[in-house]
Every structure is written in C-alpha cells, then in structure tokens.
Amino acid sequence: MHPLAAASDSSGGFQGPSIDEFFPSVLLFEGTPFEITRITLARFFVVIVLFLIFWIGTRRMKLVPGRFQSVVEMGLDLVRVNVAEDLLGKKDGRRFLPLLTTIFFMVLFMNLTGIIPGFNIAGTSVIGIPLILAVVAYVAFIYAGLKKHPGTFLRNALFPPGVPWPLYIIVFPIELVSTFVLRPITLTLRLLMNMVVGHLLLVLFFTATSFFFFESGNLFALFGIGTIAFGFVFTLFEILVAVLQAYVFSLLTAVYVQLALNDEH
C-alpha cells in the first residue's frame, strides 16, 4: 500500500490531530463541575511552579541579588517597568501591578506547558483560562474608568468629545462594539488560537514523524527527518509565542486600563 495514499485514507495509517486533543479524558470527579483532566493537572503544576519559584526567589531578598534572585527580579521588573510603569505611570502602575504580573506569568507559564514533555499541552489552549483572564481585564479597565471618571466614563467612551454630533450615529456603534464587545473577544481568541494552532502543528509534526519512521518505512523515513526538524523548530517557535502572547496579553490589559484612565472629562 502506498504510504501517501495511506495518509490520506482515513480508515487506517496516518491519523492527524483533531480538536479532541483539547478534550482529554477525565481523570477525576467525572460528571461534576470539578472534573480534572490532564490539562487541569498542567494548570495545577503551573500554579505550584510559580509559587515555588517566586516564593523561593523572594524569600530572603538581598540588596545585592544573587543569581536566582536576579532572574526573578528581572522577570518581575519586565512587567513592572516595561508594562505597568511605562503605560500607567508610577502611581497607577502600582495599583494594577498585581493584576498585570499575574496575567503575564500565568499566561507565560501556562503557555509553556505546551512544550514541556509529559504535559505537551498548553494550559491556555482550552478556552477557560483565556476567557477568565479576558473577563478580568475587561472588568479591570471598566472599573478603572468608572472609578477615575464616575459618570463621564461611559459617555466619553461611547460619545468621544469633540466629534460633531451627527457623526455620533456612526461613532457610537463603532465605539460600543470595539470597546465593550471586541476587546474581551480578541483578547480571548488571540491567545486561545495561538496556543491551539501551535499545539496542533506540533502534534502534526510529531505524529507525522512517528508515522514516517515506524509505519511507512523505506525511503519515506527521510520525510520523517524533515518533519522532526520542523517539529524542533516549531517547539522553539512556541517558546517565542508563549513569551510574546504573555507580553501582549498583559500589555493590552495595561493599554485598556490606560485608555480608561485617560479618557477626556
């Protein structure tokens, strides 16, 4: 049987990844709202790792940091300086720093489980985490706006001052959709789809490698070398994506908060 024909034949041979990848079998508490799957375990792992790293890293902080403390401080400073203080300034930056730091490291580490052997699935590749974080960001910027400009925030956000009133007929729906509808959706989908696609690509490359090496045999094993090389490259690429998405998510949250705080009176 021809291997390529086998790959295209769904009844046997090569099996491509499906969306079921993201719905693994339930391990514990099946049928309750507390079902635990492999992905849930990956998320718990991330929480424990984050706790350990940052607990140990900040346990006995010295004025002149050692290596480990330097790395931890560098990570925290990345969010504090480059995201929070750059966009929000010192005062507001400090208020929203816990939220932004949480978003950054949660997204980063949960993205990284996608390439950790044994988990091989990003904690953010199921909609729960991206959605929760997007809702948190949504609530945060609306809260920031309402607190800073009570009464005028919603009006200014929907009817930007300085626009001639007939234009409000066009501007109002645009602002409504872009600010209050699209923002959380884009935040969720951007992260989710990056992780979903990344995972599917990796699964595709590695199952194909396995298929070429062990099932098709002969010269087609050479294709396997190509696919495993791509798998390796895309694993590195996933690290980049993990960092980038974490940065983008926290940055956009900060930008939304900043826009809400800066709204004209």
Binding site: S10, S18, F23, P33, T37, L50, F54, P98, T102, F105
Partner: protein, 184 residues
Amino acid sequence: MNSAQMIVAAGEEHNPLLPATPDLVWGAVCFIAILLIFWRLVLPRMKATLDERAEVIEGGIKKAENAQAEAAAALEEYNKQLADARSEAAKIREQARTDATRIANDVKAQAQTDADRITANATAQIEAERQSALVSLRSEVGSLAIDLASGVIGESLSDDAKASAIVDRFLADLEADEQSKAGK
C-alpha cells in the same frame, strides 16, 4: 462510522469556543491562586527590597554629598589657616626686623656711651698722672739742683728756707722763660 466522521462528530460535540464548567472552575481557582501569590506574597517582598535598595542608594548619594561638603569646608578651613599663618609669619618677620633695628641701635648707643666713659676716664687718669709726675718732678728737680749747686759753690745750702727760695725763683724763671718762648 469511520474515524473521519467520528472526528467531525466529536468536533461538534466539543466546541472549543464554548467553555466547559470544570474548565472555568479550575481556571478561576488557578487564577485566584496565582493572583494571591503575586499580590500578597511576591510583590510586597519585591517592593520592600526595591524601596530598601533605593534608600541605600539615596543614602549613599547623600553620604557622598556630605563627604564632599565636608571636604570643601576642610579645604576652606585649611586655606584660611594658611592665609592666617602667612600673615602671622609676615607679622613676625616685621617684628623681628624692628627688634633687630632697635637692638642694633641700643648696642650702638651703649658702645658710644662706653667709649665716651672710657675716654673720659683715660683723660682724667692721664691728667692725674701728669699732676703727680709734675709734683714729683718738681721736688726731684729741686733737690737735684740744690745738690748740684751745693757742689758748685761748695757750701751747703742746708738752710731750707733759703734753698727753697732759690729753687722757687729758679723754677719761676724757668717757667717765665718757657712762657715767653711759647708766647712768641
């Protein structure tokens, strides 16, 4: 049912855009746990360290500024002392010069006085010697002359009154003769 249909069916069953309840429950738990870790534990420690560090750095800067100010003050003090010392030295030099002049003048005056005194003494002594020599010479010359005259005339001029008168007359003649010579 072949596997392709199964995948499609499973895909329809599991919509990746619809969150499952456990997904949200555990996701929220994870979020809250991580939020608490950063909010309550990590960031306060980090802030404390940063504040402490900033304080140390500011303290160091302040200390350096203080040290600089102290150094400047010390330099000023030193310069002032130097200037004082210079003026003091100049004063002392001036004083020394005046003193030297005074001492030299004193010494000169003293020497002059001493010289005058010594000269006066010498003059007085010479005068006294001359007087005494004159007196003794007068008596010597008198007796010599008497002896000589006694020998010449062969008779003793033992009559003192007479001899004295002769001598006195002779001497007076002698003086008168000298005076007349000097008067010429």
